[in-house]
Every structure is written in structure tokens, then in C-alpha cells.
Amino acid sequence: MSKGRADETQGKRFGDPQMEVMMGRLLQVGVLLASAVVLIGGVLYLHAQHGSAPNYRSFSSEPAKLRQLGDMGHGLAAGDPATIIQLGVLLLIATPVARVAFALVAFAIERDKLYVAVSLIVLVVLLISFFRSQ
């Protein structure tokens, strides 16, 4: 069945099915990358952690180095395990955003103005929500 689909799109210009397959791959690579970073950070984190688990019963916001882009840079430079985990989390959040950006480019190649506009709106909402809160 997948062969039939491939034949159908062959010879034609860049189409939706190819686009979706590439997006699926993009998402998979993003998740793998993020998971690898989280795993490395996590192992280092456990190694550095002595004694009892932190108390999660009551809520206190994370320190700036674990929630703000600018401050995360310093944590990473110092090799702080918790910050490495947060970098993985950031990569993970960026993965669907990258998919929307990819769709935008793909629709532009297809010359589909309507969906270039639609993708642009979604991308702008995502970017504003991320950077406005920073």
C-alpha cells in the first residue's frame, strides 16, 4: 500500500503525503534528541543527588536558572545536571514548533497561500506564547 502511494506521488512536485512523512521523521528525531539530552542530564542529576528525594508535596516555583532562557545558559556552561534536563525539555517543546515551521515552508513550496497564512498564524501564536512569557 505504501508503495502505491509512493508511485502516485512520484514525478509530481512536492506533495502532501511526502510532506507528512518528512514531518513524522522530524518529530521523531526531535523526540529522540530531547530524550537523549534528558537521559544524560538525568543520570548526572541522580549521581549528584544524595539522600532523600526533594519534597514535591508543596509547590515552590523553580529557580530562574531552570525556567528562564538567559539564566539557563549559565547553568549549562557550569554543567549543571538539572539545567541539562531542562535543555532537553526545551528541545522537546521546540519539536512541534519546528513541525509547524516546516509545514509553513512546505506550503510555500506548494504555493498554497491560504495554508502559508494558516501555518503562520499557528507559528506566531506558539512563538508569542513562548517569548512573551520569558
Binding site: 530524550s35 537521559l39 538525568g42 543527588q49 532523600s52 528525594a53 525556567r67 519539536t95 512541534p96 506564547s129
Partner: protein, 280 residues
């Protein structure tokens, strides 16, 4: 409890949540938040933050498998993501203004409704083909998917504003509770817009990740995402859901699914009782 043991238990619990989410088709978040709050006694704000992260991981991790069969529709997904992402930002905004007790009660109600949906899904498959609205073609939402006999089946969609309004609600729930709210997304496409069921479920999977990403950045900045929780939970839910999607969904699991539907119902009641009595 020692840090290592706590992490291992969290990892094991998250695998179970991922498996359960894949089996019931409700996603990992719906099981994860009650697990973290009721069993691990994690504050619901941390639970919601880390759940959002695992929702993105599950949705993106499963994406490659979903596109291969050619059911999902990138256009339907992208158009409706306008509604879900704006809803998600609104939900994340609401979350800071709602007391955690109320959050727990809302979560419980959503769980009970999800259990009802999952029970209903197994019984009433939606009818497939019908003529859509003229906007279906204008917005290029009409499409085709491989039918049971291998031949492409054409479909059109209807009631796009109704579907979009419901998607805004799905996004709000996702941003407020840290869940994928895939069940509501499927409902909006399948029941309201009359998108074929298989197209709805696969397209919903794509939308879940983008929707969750819209509020996850806000939660990260607010300090709701703790690395000590994110590490075991994200990796655990991802493993559980991938294994679940690969091996369990193909097997005949209607009995298991029924049992888990009751588990989710019970968790919902627990959340409401604990939220109302301020025991979380």
C-alpha cells in the same frame, strides 16, 4: 524516600500511565496527573507541568507511525490548531487564577467524561461518508484516505465553525490541566465535523503536540516543570505509550480496555473527593 528509589518508582508508574493511555486512547496525561497527585503526593501544579511535557513526547514520538498509513490530514490539523493553540494559551492563563482544589475537581470531571467517551467509542462507530459544506472544498479540507478494501475513500467535512469552537475548548482544557485532550479533539472532528474516525484520531495525535507546546513554554517559565520529575516521567510515559501503541492496541484488548475505563472512572471520583476535601 531516597532520591534513586523515588525516581525508579516514578519511572515505573509513568510507564504504566503511558501503557494505559495508549490502550484507552486517552493519552498519558489523563492517567499521569492523578497518579502523581494521588499516589506520589506531588502538588498538582508540578503534575500538570510535567504531564504537558510527556504529552508532547508521546504525540511526537508516535507521529512517524501515524503518517505511514496515510490517514492523517495536515490541512484539517493545521487549520484547527489555530483554535487549539489560542485555547491552550487561554487555559494556561486561567490555571494561575484557579485554586488548586478547583483544578483537581475539574480534572476529576474531565476524567469521568473521558471514561464515558472511551466506553462509548467501543460501542458506536460513527458512520463514514456524507456530503460536506462548500467551505470543505474552499478551505481544501476535503481529502481521501485508504479504505478497508485498499481503494481511496473520499471525504468532506461540515460544520467547521462548530468544530473550531470545540477545538478552542479542547485547547483550553489542555492548557489548564496539562492533558492532550485528544478525546475532545476526536469528538470535534468525528462527531461535529463528520471527519472519518481514523482520520480524526491520527490528525488529533498531531494536533496534541502542537497544542501542548503552546502552553508548555508558559509552564516552564512559571517554574511548574521540575527537572527531577521531568526526567523519569517524560522517559517513562514515552516508553509506555510506544510499547502500548505497538503491541497492545493491535491485540484484542476490549476486556482490558473496559477494565481500564473503570480505573479512569475511579481515578476521576478520587480526584473530585480529594480536591473537594483539600487532601491533595
Amino acid at each position: 524516600m531516597a532520591a534513586l528509589l523515588f525516581t525508579l518508582l516514578l519511572f515505573a508508574g509513568s510507564i504504566a500511565a503511558g501503557l494505559l493511555g495508549a490502550l484507552t486512547g486517552l493519552g498519558g496525561g489523563v492517567v499521569l496527573v492523578p497518579l502523581l497527585t494521588l499516589i506520589f503526593h506531588v502538588d498538582i501544579r508540578y503534575a500538570i507541568g510535567v504531564s504537558l511535557i510527556s504529552v508532547i513526547a508521546t504525540s511526537s514520538g508516535a507521529a512517524a507511525a501515524y503518517v505511514r498509513d496515510g490517514y492523517s490530514s495536515i490541512r484539517i490539523g493545521m487549520l484547527l490548531e489555530i483554535a487549539t493553540t489560542i485555547g491552550a494559551v487561554f487555559g494556561a492563563f486561567l490555571a494561575t487564577r484557579i485554586h488548586t482544589q478547583v483544578l483537581a475537581v475539574i480534572f476529576g470531571l474531565v476524567l469521568i467524561y473521558s471514561a464515558y467517551l472511551s466506553w462509548q467509542q467501543t460501542r458506536h462507530p460513527a458512520p463514514d461518508l456524507r456530503a460536506g459544506s462548500p467551505w470543505s472544498r474552499r478551505l481544501k479540507l476535503s481529502g481521501q484516505y485508504p479504505g478497508p478494501d485498499g481503494k481511496p475513500q473520499k471525504y468532506e467535512v461540515e460544520n467547521i465553525p462548530g468544530g473550531a469552537a470545540m477545538m478552542f475548548g479542547a485547547g483550553t482544557l489542555s492548557g489548564l490541566l496539562g492533558i492532550g485532550s485528544g478525546a475532545v479533539k476526536v469528538l470535534a472532528m468525528d462527531r461535529v465535523m463528520k471527519v472519518p474516525f481514523k482520520v480524526s484520531t491520527t490528525t488529533s495525535n498531531f494536533m496534541i503536540g502542537v497544542t501542548a507546546a503552546a502552553s508548555a513554554g508558559i509552564y516552564l517559565h512559571r517554574g511548574f516543570i521540575d527537572p527531577g520529575l521531568a526526567f523519569p516521567v517524560m522517559l517513562g510515559v514515552l516508553c509506555g505509550s510506544l510499547v502500548g501503541a505497538r503491541y497492545l492496541v493491535k491485540a484484542n484488548v476490549s476486556l482490558l480496555r473496559n477494565i481500564f475505563t473503570w480505573v479512569i472512572l475511579a481515578l476521576g471520583v478520587e480526584m473530585i473527593v480529594n480536591g473537594a476535601m483539600n487532601r491533595l
